[in-house]
Amino acid sequence: MKRIFVNEEWCLGCHLCEYNCAFANTVSAGKSKANEMAKALKGKKIFPKIQVEENDGIYFAVSCRHCTDPLCVKGCIAGALSVKDGVIEIDQDKCVGCYTCVLSCPYGAIMPAEDGHVAQKCELCTKNSCGSPACVAGCPNNAIVFEER
């Protein structure tokens, strides 16, 4: 299965992946990017599903690894997390926001969603209109790639 891989050697810490992610999961994603992104994100705190870590000149982005033996899915008390065709999905309707998944994820890749009531995670842009991961498409230096390994 194709997965997102991050090569920190090429990560510039520009944080564009976070913004592209935040935009990808808004309703206007897919339309003329420059205007729609400004409309969707301007003046707002963003809640991306990918997060850049940085320290002392080292940068890398972290998003769900879509583990084959996922602790988050096993630990979900609501049965809201599941694996579908290798992609770990969250059913935010079922999620009650207990954050056992936050407790479980060894990568720190699941986080409370914007409203604070449910969890959110990278679903490889399978549930928005992007078609393929927006973080990958927008990475200026191929530091984030989406491929089979």
Binding site: W10, C14, H15, Y19, G57
Partner: protein
């Protein structure tokens, strides 16, 4: 008091800026910053070199850089630039430094030359249907075919460089450009079946694997030259001069001679790498001949030797000498050739256009009957595939591209290489900037560019009814001048359009 006024303005569309701060994080010149009190992005345009990095990365296209319309009381004689430079020198007392090629509005002869196409007779060839050869070989060509007693041909061909496309990447040293830029060039040359050139910085140990597609340079500073280095390359280039700064040497400041650069150049960390103006052992063609044969001897006559010179006034006579020195290839660098740093006055006023230099060299060598002694490679602002076709028709065997290669890798010609803060990760050694050029990306873009050009070259050749680059070589009948005077046409050896 600062007499200067910022050259550029940073225009931010406040409606679009989402405050992601990518511009701030990506500007090594620290133009952009976030003002917490105002709660918005601000900028100090005086630091802007207009490299377009922020513009390119801005996800909402909220930025543009424009030329400041603040005007000095300039006129046709006292231009802004002249006034600005005087202020600068009056302030600093220093020699002005510049980067990249001559930007002056001197004639670009490529743009005054037009290419022929076949019509009814000698019909054009469709490169999509017919084979079309862009492969070429560089090196001495024997004057006669020799046969043994059985009538079989004796191979009397000296070592040659085989190029799948008549385009090579010109010399840019590791030091003047980054390791990632070098890797991009090396990998692209390998995939394209052509060559890149180490410049005078030595060959990084990681890149010996690309040796079969590497031209190793020996310049006046002899930095990084050793036996393995010479043996690693496919050819050796003796650099006598450079188009951007004919007659002067090079200077890599100690601040850039760090880490791998110093190791590769084999000089102490932090020491200035000064390449003298002349080779201290070359004061004549005879001296040059000695170096050519020393290098050949050292590499068992397996590698062609290139002698690279800048296009200067008596370039034809110089080339004639080189063609008799034992060199296999002459590389001529025109006055628009790029550089990582050169004194502005030299860059802008010394040397001659490559088109004229090429035409006169080719013509002179033909007249003297020694054209076959050498191949001719020209560089110095080859900007597109039409320039390549015109150069070959004027008599070149192949071209070198440097600036175009840099642009393919992301260079936006801001011409601030000498500041060593290249935001595109090309002309810098700062690790945080170097990493901005991922060779996986850079190499692919170079391959794309050259492949695209090669397609276009085939199209143009097909249009002329020519199916091999060898048939185009020196075929000046395929060229016509426009808006050129008699003298220019005479030197170029072409007729005026309509003739």
């Amino acid at each position: 008091m600062d007499y200067q006024y910022p050259e550029f303005e940073v225009v931010r569309n406040a409606d679009r800026c989402i405050g992601c701060r990518a511009c701030e994080r990506q500007c090594a010149n620290e133009v952009h910053y976030y003002d917490a009190d105002l709660g918005k992005m601000m900028c100090d345009e005086s630091k802007c070199v207009n490299c377009q990095r922020c513009v390119t990365l801005c996800p909402t296209r909220a930025l543009k850089i424009v030329k400041s319309d603040n005007t000095f009381r300039e006129n046709a004689n006292w231009t802004m630039e002249n006034i600005r430079e005087i202020y600068k020198q009056a302030e600093t007392g220093g020699v002005l430094l510049s980067s990249m090629g001559n930007p002056k509005p001197l004639p670009v002869y490529w743009d005054k030359i037009l290419i022929n196409a076949s019509q009814v007779t000698n019909p054009p060839i469709d490169p999509l249907r017919e084979p079309m050869e862009t492969r070429t070989f560089l090196g001495q060509k024997p004057t006669e075919v020799k046969r043994d007693e059985n009538g079989k041909i004796i191979n009397n061909l000296s070592s040659q460089l085989k190029l799948e496309v008549p385009i090579m990447f010109s010399a840019m040293s590791f030091g003047s450009i980054s390791k990632n830029a070098h890797e991009s060039l090396a990998r692209a040359a390998t995939e394209l079946g052509t060559y890149y050139n180490t410049g005078e910085g030595g060959l990084h140990k990681d890149f010996y694997q690309y040796g079969p597609n590497t031209i190793v340079q020996v310049a006046s500073g002899r930095f990084g030259v050793h036996k393995e280095y010479l043996e690693a390359g496919a050819a050796i280039e003796i650099k006598m001069g450079q188009g951007a700064k004919p007659g002067i040497g090079g200077h890599l400041p100690g601040t850039k001679t760090v880490g791998e650069v110093s190791r590769t150049r084999m000089i102490p960390e932090g020491s200035d790498a000064i390449s003298p103006a002349p080779h201290h052992d070359i004061y004549s063609i005879e001296d040059l001949r000695q170096l050519v044969f020393s290098l050949k001897e050292a590499t068992e006559y397996k590698k062609p030797v290139i002698v690279k010179i800048a296009a200067v006034h008596n370039v034809a006579a110089i080339a004639s000498g080189i063609a008799r020195s034992g060199a296999d290839i002459i590389a001529i660098d025109g006055f628009r050739g790029g550089t990582g740093a050169a004194p502005t006055r030299i860059r802008d006023n010394v040397g001659i256009p490559i088109e004229l230099a090429l035409a006169s060299v080719d013509e002179r060598l033909r007249q003297e009957g020694i054209r076959g002694n050498v191949s001719i490679v020209v560089g110095g602002s080859i900007r597109n595939s039409a320039d390549v076709v015109k150069a070959i028709a004027l008599g070149a065997d192949a071209v070198y591209i440097g600036s175009a290669a840099c642009i393919a890798m992301g260079c936006h010609q801001c011409r601030a290489c000498h500041a060593a803060k290249c935001n595109w990760g090309i002309a810098t050694q700062r690790p945080d900037l170097v990493k901005r050029l991922n060779p996986d990306v850079g190499y692919k873009r170079l391959v794309n560019l050259v492949q695209a050009w090669n397609h276009e070259i085939k199209e143009m050749m097909g249009g002329m009814g020519i199916n091999s680059i060898e048939s185009l070589k020196g075929n000046r009948l395929m060229l016509r001048g426009v808006g050129l005077n008699e003298k220019e046409l005479e030197i170029l050896g072409i007729k005026h359009a309509g003739e």
